[in-house]
Structure formats: structure tokens, C-alpha cells
Symmetry: C2
Subunit: 341 residues, 2 copies
DNA sequence: CTGAAAGCGCTTACAG
DNA sequence: CTGAAAGCGCTTACAG
């Protein structure tokens, strides 16, 4: 590969001058500039970023640690990161913990996670990334996972209990509140809820949103209308069977994710309950599968792309020394109305 | 950040010696080594890879260009790349063309694509990646997309017509042959096929596999049993309606992807045709959605993870100067038997 | 307007 | 066994 010295020799100028025209700085005579530009064009010269990074002590590179790239939320978030990075000429160094692949839903504790993260974290620091985005696959507290370091970190799809850490998430409470309100306003007064595992922060927030929406609409909370599943399709099916065969059959079921909502659809179908005439079903997450159920599932769309975009935008602000007013941001979700409600 | 000079000063040795113990080379007295190691440990020193890369003219970094990260095949392939990269201490620079997001299924021609790829390609070269993996989202000929350069490239989930280019793909023909044979051996003699758009190489290969499987099993090819859809759910539904309402109702339908197979399931359900007793349905791709249909869809699993792993493995072999015997590799798919067959 | 020189943090023959 | 010095490809005050 040609280097700046080669260009200088060909143009019969110094490397300083070549550097100046490459970076549009300093005064360079128009004739000299054109001559250099022509040569650069001719031999298709590409400046060596590694050398530049070393000299400038700036790599224009962001490290991404994703807990599992194969989980549905990760690609969209990274897509958002990529888009912004490309527009602003940042590069992305991607590392993947493969947590779900290794452990499934049985998350290891923070200490085990930390041991797995360590080598990736060090690799990124060695590569002199200017900041790190940590993408969780489950909303939870990952406090203490990453060691202290002067490299700024933004957490997304997870958070830490440290007030000074920056995180970008979505508003679970409001999404659940809105979905429940939507169902009520559509005329479904008996709204049941199929929750995910209750050790999850999401499940808490969504439960609260559900309850408050009932209250705001003057409806009574009915404990018989709340069932707890384990986020999987089968549990949605079972819980729906319980609900739909019970005495007070609900007219709508809000499931805390699209998988369990799929189980609800199956249960309704087997019981010959017409959706949405006799039963409205609402999911959560807007996973790809939700639009392939029959009927197509109404659901809550997560702002994944925006989470990625705002994560990197915020991170670059920190790198640039700006002060971040809101350390914990929660973006809004969107209701997607399809055929099940 | 501390540098090698700081370590040298603290240990009262030269930077050369520190470098030697860091890299386990040269003779260093045991005492000196321990002393240096201790200091490195204490101040948690991390060598600056950027400086090392510049000096060594080796970055240990691979560039990945993915046509669209959000399309179902990409994350698994990258997962395979990541796993191997981590084990072998390579870093991954990820860039994303976002082709599907921008154009959907209406792929732009190679010239348009090239213009989009150019900046990403140059960014990677500037960063001195040692090789590039190009991940397509559709099996097709991408000849001429990437400019000539001395940086080695491996194509996966796509190919070029240039015999000297390296590509890693899967064996569409054999997968289709096997799926068809499987259905026949299960006792389904009248196997229909719902094809994707015929301008696709995959569709051709899968069609040939289907035909040859019929022949090998002594069955006659029946043109009425072949319908052409557009890869989408709705087209699967329509084609299935045609087939199932026709005079000679098939006893099995092989759809060229899981989306169209979903449409087949819906059609069968509406016509009250029992799956799999009266009709077997087989899909292709093993997308997440396939295991959430009712009944769960039997399908062909693509070796995505392996494609990623073998892509980077092959690429690193090229970088290391080894000669690659097979330039065009096709990995085997696996049949996933679920409830629809 | 242009260039000589120092320096970013490493590695590596080479000398002692 | 250890160190001085050159050099990887850039940028940037500074001098002229």
C-alpha cells in the first residue's frame, strides 16, 4: 500500500504538505493542492487510519458488546448504531458474549458474566475504542459487570443501579398502560394479563402499567385475570386455557410478549373463540413472528433502532465532552394495530 | 493510559525488555520478568494494539460487510464469525449496507450496490483490515461489486462468477432433494412444490433437487404440482389454495421458504385439511417463525453459524498464505422434523 | 506557501 | 541477559 511519503515523492513536496491537503488545513497553494489531489486519485491512495489514530490518540472507533447477537432485539439496535456510525464516520468493533446460546434463559449471575465479558472488554480497550455500548438481552441490573475505566459506556436494553451510568431503554410502564387503555377504549372491559416471570423488571413495569390503566379507566383490578407464565409460547397457551375456560371469561388478553400471545391465539382457536370478535389479543415486542400468526397479532413495537441510534449519539456526546442531562432515558413504544384486536 | 515506557521506568529496565516479556520472546532473566509482570498486573497495563498494529503491519482485524443485519440469516452468520474470531484473538469491524431496509426485495443492480458499498469498503481498508467477509442476504451473483484489491475477500450467502473468488454457501440442491425424498419415503407420493421467484439461483437449485428426487424415487414429474410464489406468506397461501382446491390434491407440499409454508398451513386450516394426516407441509430456512406455527413446521435448517465460522477460518487461511483447495464450498443443510410432516 | 523534525506506542535486529 | 536506536505512517507546531 502506498503511503503519504510515496505521494510526497511523486508530487515533489513534503509529507507535511500532503497531510495538509488531505486534511484541508494549513495554507497550500492551489497548484500544489491540485497536483497532489491528482496523484492521490491516480494511485487510489487511502490514508492509513491506524497511523493516524496512533498519532492523534483518537481512533474514531466505538466498541459494542452484545450479550447475544442472535436474540431478536440485538440486530435492530446494532442497525441503529451502524447507521449513525456510518453517517459520522465512526467504525464499530463488534463483540458477542453469546449468553443466550450458552445459557438460554438461565442467566448466570453477574460474577460469571463478568468473567466472560473481561476478555472482550480488554480487547476493546486494547484497540483504543473511544467508548463502549453494552447491549443486554433482558432488561436487568448489570451493575458491576464492567470494570471501572475511563472509557465511557452506554448501556442499552439493560441498566445499572449506579445513578451516574448512562442507559437508554424504553418505557415499559407506558407501553403497557397504553396497550391496556387501547383495549379498554375499544370496548373490551374485561382485560386479562399474562405476565412473564416476575423476577423481571419488565414484568413489574408492565404489570404496573396494566393496573394503572384499569384504574384510570374506572375499572376494578381482578386478580383472577392475572396469570404468570415464563415468556414461552407454551406457557401462554396454558395460561390462556385457564383464563378462557374459567367462569369469568375475559374479553381481552394482554400478553407480555409475542410468544405467549401466540399461545393465546392457539388456545382461542382450539376453543373456537373468535378473535377479535369474542376475544382481543395483544402482544408485546413486535417480533417478526407476530405478523405471521393467524390472525395477525396486534402488539407493542419496541424502539430498538432508535435505542441504538440514541445510544451511540449519546456516547459520542460524552466522548466529545458534552454533559448529558438525562442519564437514564426511556424511549416511547408504539402500538401496532393488526387483526387480533 | 499507561504505556510501555511507564512500565519500563517503574521496573527500571528498557522498553525493549518490557516488550520482550509481554511477547514471551528473547531472553529475559527470571527475576526481571517477575518484576515486570508484577508491575503490569498492579497498574493493569493493556498494550496499545493500535501502536502494535502500525509497527507490525498487522491489525488482526477482519472487516465484515453485511448487506442487511436485520435480515434473518445475518445474525447467525456473524455469530459464527464472532465465535471463531474471539477464540483466535481477531477483532471484527462491522459495517452494514442496510439494503433490505432501503429497498426491500427490490434489489438494486450491481452498479447501485457498488456505490453504496464503496465508502464502507474504503473505511475498512483505511482501518487496515487483513481481510473482508461479504455477507449477502440473497443467493446471487455479486460479481464486480467489490473493487479489486490485494485484501482477500470471502463471500458468503452469495457468490461471484469469478472462479478465483472464494465463497461459502450451502447446498440448496441437496437440501431440496433430501426434503423431497424424505416426504416420499414417509409415504406422501404426491408432492407439490411452491417455488420462490424464479430469477433466484436458490429457486433453481431447489427446483432441480425436487425434480431429481421424484425421478430417483420413480415418480413422475407433474407440472400441475408446481406453483410459483414470491417468497411471501400471502403467495404461499394463494398457491396452496390453488393446489388444495384442484382436482388432484397433493398429499404433501414443499414450500421454498418458511413464510410461504406458513401460508400453506393457513390454507389447509381454512379448508379443514388435517396436517399432517391429510397433508404434509415442509418449509425451508428454519426461521424462528417456523416453530411457532400451529402445527410446528418441519423445515430445512441452513448451516448459518457454520457458514460464518468457515468463512472466517478460510479467510484467515488465505491471510496466512495457505492455499485454498476448494474455492466454492457448499455446506450441508439439515432436515428438521416437526409436527407438519 | 512549504518543509524539517519530533513524536504517538510499539517491535526488533543488533551490539554489548 | 539487557538496552539504544530505528522505524511503522501519520500530524503538527514551528521556522523560514
Amino acid at each position: 500500500m502506498a503511503n503519504i511519503k510515496d505521494i510526497a515523492d511523486l508530487a515533489e513536496v513534503s509529507v507535511a504538505t500532503v497531510s495538509n491537503v488531505l486534511n484541508n488545513r494549513g495554507r497550500v497553494g492551489e497548484e500544489t493542492r491540485q497536483k497532489i489531489l491528482k496523484i492521490i486519485e491516480e494511485i487510489d491512495y487511502k490514508p492509513n487510519r491506524v497511523a493516524k489514530s496512533l498519532k492523534m490518540n483518537k481512533t474514531h472507533t466505538i466498541g459494542v458488546i452484545v450479550e447475544d447477537l442472535s436474540v431478536f432485539n440485538a440486530p435492530e439496535i446494532i442497525d441503529g448504531i451502524n447507521e449513525f456510525a456510518e453517517e459520522n464516520d465512526y467504525s464499530i468493533l463488534l463483540t458477542n458474549l453469546r449468553l443466550y446460546k450458552k445459557y438460554g434463559n438461565q442467566f448466570p449471575d453477574v460474577d460469571t458474566c463478568r468473567e466472560m465479558v473481561m476478555p472482550l472488554f480488554h480487547q476493546l480497550l486494547s484497540n483504543q475504542v473511544e467508548g463502549i455500548i453494552y447491549i443486554g438481552i433482558h432488561l436487568r441490573n448489570v451493575n458491576g459487570l464492567l470494570p471501572d475505566s475511563s472509557t465511557p459506556v452506554v448501556y442499552t436494553y439493560c441498566d445499572t443501579s449506579d445513578e451516574s451510568d448512562i442507559s437508554i431503554n424504553y418505557d415499559d410502564y407506558k407501553a403497557s398502560f397504553d396497550a391496556t387503555s387501547y383495549l379498554i377504549n375499544k370496548g373490551y372491559q374485561e382485560v386479562a394479563l399474562i405476565s412473564g416471570l416476575i423476577n423481571s423488571e419488565s414484568a413489574h413495569a408492565r404489570f404496573n402499567g396494566y393496573c394503572n390503566a384499569l384504574m384510570s379507566n374506572g375499572l376494578q383490578f381482578n386478580p383472577n385475570y392475572v396469570k404468570t407464565g415464563d415468556w414461552e409460547y407454551e406457557s401462554g397457551y396454558k395460561m390462556a386455557m385457564d383464563l378462557l375456560k374459567g367462569e369469568q371469561r375475559p374479553s381481552a388478553i394482554l400478553a407480555m410478549n409475542d410468544l405467549m400471545a401466540g399461545g393465546v391465539i392457539k388456545a382461542a382457536s382450539e376453543l373456537n373463540i373468535h378473535v377479535p370478535d369474542e376475544l382481543a389479543i395483544f402482544g408485546f415486542d413486535n417480533r417478526e413472528v407476530s405478523s405471521y400468526y393467524t390472525p395477525k397479532l396486534s402488539t407493542v413495537s419496541l424502539p430498538l433502532h432508535d435505542m441504538g441510534e440514541i445510544s451511540i449519539k449519546t456516547l459520542i456526546d460524552v466522548i466529545d465532552g458534552k454533559t448529558i442531562k438525562t442519564k437514564k432515558r426511556k424511549l416511547l413504544c408504539e402500538l401496532i394495530e393488526r387483526d387480533s384486536s
